[in-house]
């Protein structure tokens, strides 16, 4: 059986080293090796978006990235979205707009939304729905999520 691999990476701005088996996904590494359970597993095959993280500037489903691929990369998870001063405007907007019910998809939606608004601060409803099509939510019917993203745009401009 192949041994553990030493990986050096950066997570939420912090240089991080870990050991993992090559078969372990980045999602497993985050949750089981590093104890960062904010990133959620919904399907483990890239179809629900609950495990969305930023990986070298792009959103990816961390279940479809191997932990060993994190070598030398920059990763941002839900744990890195808020600042010590408080919630990120996207988080605040989700909270205020009742854009979560059970909350299991919320970390993935927030990471994906932040990535969108960082590059397209004026995304319209259609663009928001397209960007978030890879994030499934079963509770809200998406209405309040889309409104929260539009509200976050306003908050980020203010």
């Amino acid at each position: 059986m192949p041994g553990l691999v030493h990986v050096s990476t950066t997570i939420n701005g912090n240089p991080t080293d870990f050991l993992c088996e090559p078969r372990q996904s980045l999602l497993e590494v985050l949750r089981d090796v590093l104890g960062m359970t904010g990133t959620k597993e919904g399907c483990n095959d890239g179809n629900c978006g609950a495990c969305t993280v930023m990986f070298d500037g792009r959103i990816v489903t961390s279940c479809l990235v191997l932990g060993v691929e994190a070598q030398g990369k920059e990763i941002t998870t839900i744990e890195g979205v808020a600042s010590p001063e408080g919630l990120h405007p996207v988080q605040q907007a989700f909270l205020e707009n009742a854009a979560l019910q059970c909350g299991i998809c919320t970390p993935g939606f927030i990471v994906a939304t932040k990535a969108l608004l960082d590059r397209e601060p004026d995304a319209d409803e259609g663009r928001i729905r397209h960007w978030l099509a890879g994030n499934l939510c079963r509770c809200t019917g998406y209405d309040k999520i889309v409104r929260a993203v539009l509200d976050a745009e306003e908050k980020m401009k203010a």
């Binding site: 959620k40 808020a82 928001i128 079963r138």
Partner: protein
């Protein structure tokens, strides 16, 4: 955006406002702890071996290679369940119930659906457990499966249970059958009702199995200590139900089982049954270590509880004036591998929206080689409504009558007796229908080719059941509210609001916490639209208890009779001496020095129902080349009673609508000839994405429920009931062919058009 219609007459301070949920910050930052996030010292990972066959006799199971595999700590099979060592005599009248419950957890003689658990392994890691599971050798004798009610009801159908006899209107039949029960409701004189009708229409319908589709897979962690204490951490809508069923299946005292509900990632009725908990417990008992068992997404589809596929027939008789005189309904629901479909609820909901003088409803609960069905949001009602509302729509079309006007002429209202017996108290169906008629969506003409509009109504009981709440007063004037209701969509907020309103304090001063089964009284599931209603009621009563004790304390401090002290809007005062006055906060500060802290407690079991109705309007466009339906506009109108937290009421309505849209258009369990599910992933089980939908407009009609202190009815079930029929009718109008099977996916619509 929604413009809600407030018909309840009382203005509240906290109730009815859109407060931030107390658990919100944890849930937007990833700190909230869900079941899969549980970490314990020495934790092992479990994996379940599942049947690859839909129907097979288990001839032998050899676990020796798995047990010997490095890193494996325990392997369990049905032989480890208590049932294996109990005789029929010992179980007596409980025999079949315990047998079915035990066999559902781990198959013994037969595998009854693909995905049926056969054995389970606990190992050092998930990967090792997966490898070990593959080493278990199972010898099967594959049997032909019965996959639909029609197949299973055939006289020569393959039998799932050789010892299952039909409960025929309460009497046990003498020949084993896949029909677990036949029930019936009857009112008036059906033949006479048919004769009174000018138009009689009979149609047949089918709907596919669908899944609740919660994003969080099932999970369970158990630790069975050497002293017999069994602790379970899991994702469940009903920790007390899990406690009961684990104690029942494992024949372990209920007091030695503690269930800690973690945050729950959706349920919709599907997270009530204990699938993994008994397995995790057995693995823990055998290994002496805590064990976590997770389902994969495929396991969730194949081995949790979908909503039943159905076969239904509806015959309605209507006069030229648009009055329903007769209804004859046949409902056959798939139970899955073990009895217990929601056909009874479907039958009771089928005609609940209407005052039908003569009716007969026959319901059949039929076992098939699919996972045992579970509750899914208003269980049974959406399917029944699809059939009944579709026939009504077709009759309206034939008679040239406005579908809202037709429904108004027949609508249930206060005093109408339902077919299964109960008489409606004050309800809001008429108000909802009027709100639809006055809505600009309904008034706006629908123009353009290949477009259609559908309208449908729906019903759910909204029953109470047991809840408990404790409220203790903190020295700073806030209170801790302890509840047993898992918060699946904002209920901490809606329950805290009711406590705050009752106590006359600020919403922010109530700190709600959901606790384990050792720490609060029996509380039924978060489900059936009961939580804000019944646990809210418990919060009100616990708050009243606090008020009573606060009044007593003030009287003691002022050395005055209790009768002289009043409690108004969070202020205690003497009725005649204006000098004697304390706010809640001021008194709270003095409690510890004047006799100790104050805790209010309540256990409630509200009787009666807060019946809820919804009426939906949908506009669709169908691509005539591909059969694909686009939802252009959707409006949901619902009588929620008093909306304690309007945002979360709207959210329930929108979420229910979208699940209904998925059910109507694309979602289905797709099986091959061998009864194996072929689409057990979110890729091929097609739930709506954000890109498939418009905004979902909502109108909350608040007709206060006279059976609740703040007029709450319950919200979550009703909104999934009308969409199937509304969308089916809309597509029918768009393409000129009736839709009588769901899902109405592009292929099906294309076939209907050709």
């Amino acid at each position: 955006m929604a413009s809600n219609i407030v018909l309840s007459e009382v203005e509240y301070n906290v109730v009815g406002k859109r407060h931030l949920r107390p658990d919100g910050v944890d849930k937007v930052t990833g700190r909230a702890q869900y079941g899969a996030d549980v970490q314990l010292t020495g934790l092992l990972q479990g994996k379940v071996l599942r049947s690859p066959h839909a129907h097979a006799r288990i001839k032998s199971i050899d676990t020796s290679a798995a047990e010997a595999y490095p890193g494996v700590h325990a392997v369990v099979t049905a032989a480890d369940l208590s049932f294996a060592s109990l005789s029929r005599e010992q179980l007596g009248g409980d025999y079949q119930r315990v047998k079915f419950a035990s066999n559902h957890v781990l198959a013994s003689e037969k595998a009854l659906f693909k995905g049926h658990p056969i054995a389970a392994v606990a190992a050092e890691s998930q990967h090792v457990a997966e490898e070990a599971v593959k080493l278990i050798k199972v010898e099967y004798e594959v049997l032909p499966p019965a996959m639909t009610v029609r197949q299973a009801m055939e006289p020569n159908a393959s039998l799932l249970h050789e010892d299952l006899f039909t409960s025929e209107l309460g009497e046990l039949s003498d020949k084993p059958s896949n029909v677990a029960s036949h029930m019936a409701f009857e009112t008036g004189d059906l033949e006479q009702g048919v004769q009174q009708a000018d138009v009689v229409l009979e149609r047949e319908f089918e709907t596919a199995s669908v899944h609740q589709g919660y994003i969080e897979p099932h999970n369970s962690t158990a630790f069975w200590n050497t002293d017999g204490q069994l602790n379970i951490w899991c994702s469940t809508q009903g920790p007390f139900v899990v406690r009961t069923s684990v104690a029942d299946i494992l024949r372990h005292p209920v007091s030695r089982v503690k269930v800690t509900p973690m945050e729950i990632g959706g349920g919709f009725g599907g997270k009530i049954t204990a699938y993994l908990e008994p397995i995790a417990a057995l693995l823990s008992r055998k290994s002496g270590r805590p064990v976590k068992v997770l389902m994969s997404r495929t396991e969730v589809f194949e081995a949790s509880g979908p909503a039943p596929g159905t076969w239904m027939k509806v015959k309605l008789g209507v006069t030229n004036e648009g009055k329903i005189t007769a209804a004859d309904i046949f409902l056959a629901f798939e139970a899955g591998a073990f009895p217990g479909s929601p056909v009874m609820q479907g039958a009771a909901c089928a005609l609940a929206c209407y005052d039908v003088p003569n009716a007969r409803i026959n319901g059949y609960d039929v076992v098939v080689n699919k996972p045992k069905t579970a509750a899914y949001r208003a269980p049974g009602s959406p399917q029944a409504a699809f059939a009944v509302e579709s026939v009504i729509d077709e009759i309206c079309e034939q008679m040239g009558m406005d579908p809202v006007e037709f429904r108004l002429r027949n609508a249930s209202r206060e005093g109408v007796r339902r077919v299964e017996g109960p008489v409606f108290r004050r309800i809001g169906l008429v108000e909802c229908l009027e709100a639809v008629r006055n809505h600009d969506h309904y008034k706006a003409p629908l123009e353009g080719p290949n477009r259609g509009r559908g309208v449908a109504a729906g019903f759910w009981f909204n029953r109470g059941f047991q809840s408990a709440v404790n409220i203790s007063v903190n020295p700073d004037g806030t209170v801790n509210l302890i509840e047993g209701s898992v918060d699946i969509g904002g209920s901490r907020a809606s329950i805290a609001q009711q406590a705050a309103e009752t106590l006359g304090i600020a919403y922010e001063d109530v700190k709600p916490t959901v606790v384990d089964t050792d720490s609060i009284g029996y509380t039924m599931v978060t489900g059936g639209s009961r939580t804000t209603f019944a646990t809210g009621w418990a919060a009100i009563e616990a708050a009243e208890d606090v008020k009573t004790q606060m009044v007593e304390r003030a009287a003691r401090i002022w050395d005055t009779p209790i009768e002289d002290v009043q409690y108004i809007d969070g202020v205690l005062s003497h009725k005649s001496d204006p000098e004697l006055r304390m706010t809640f906060r001021e008194l709270a500060r003095q409690l510890l020095g004047t006799g100790g802290g104050i805790t209010g407690a309540s256990n409630v079991d509200p009787s009666g129902e807060g019946n809820g109705f919804g009426v939906h309007i949908v506009d669709v466009e169908v691509d005539p080349d591909t059969g694909k339906t686009t939802i252009l506009r959707y409006t949901a109108v619902q009588d929620a009673g008093k909306a304690i937290h309007p945002s979360y009421v709207e959210g329930q309505m929108q979420g229910g609508v979208v699940q209904g849209i998925g059910w109507a258009l694309n979602e289905e369990y797709f099986f091959n000839d061998q009864g194996q599910m072929m689409n057990s992933s979110f890729l091929d089980y097609r739930m709506p994405t954000a890109l498939d939908l418009p905004m979902i407009d909502t109108v909350i009609v608040e007709v206060a429920n006279p059976g609740h202190p703040y007029g709450v009815r319950g919200v979550g079930e009703v909104p999934i009931v009308p969409p199937l029929a509304a969308i089916g009718s809309a597509i029918s109008h768009a393409v000129g062919q009736r839709i009588d099977r769901l899902p109405a996916n592009p292929g099906a619509v294309l076939e209907a058009m050709s």
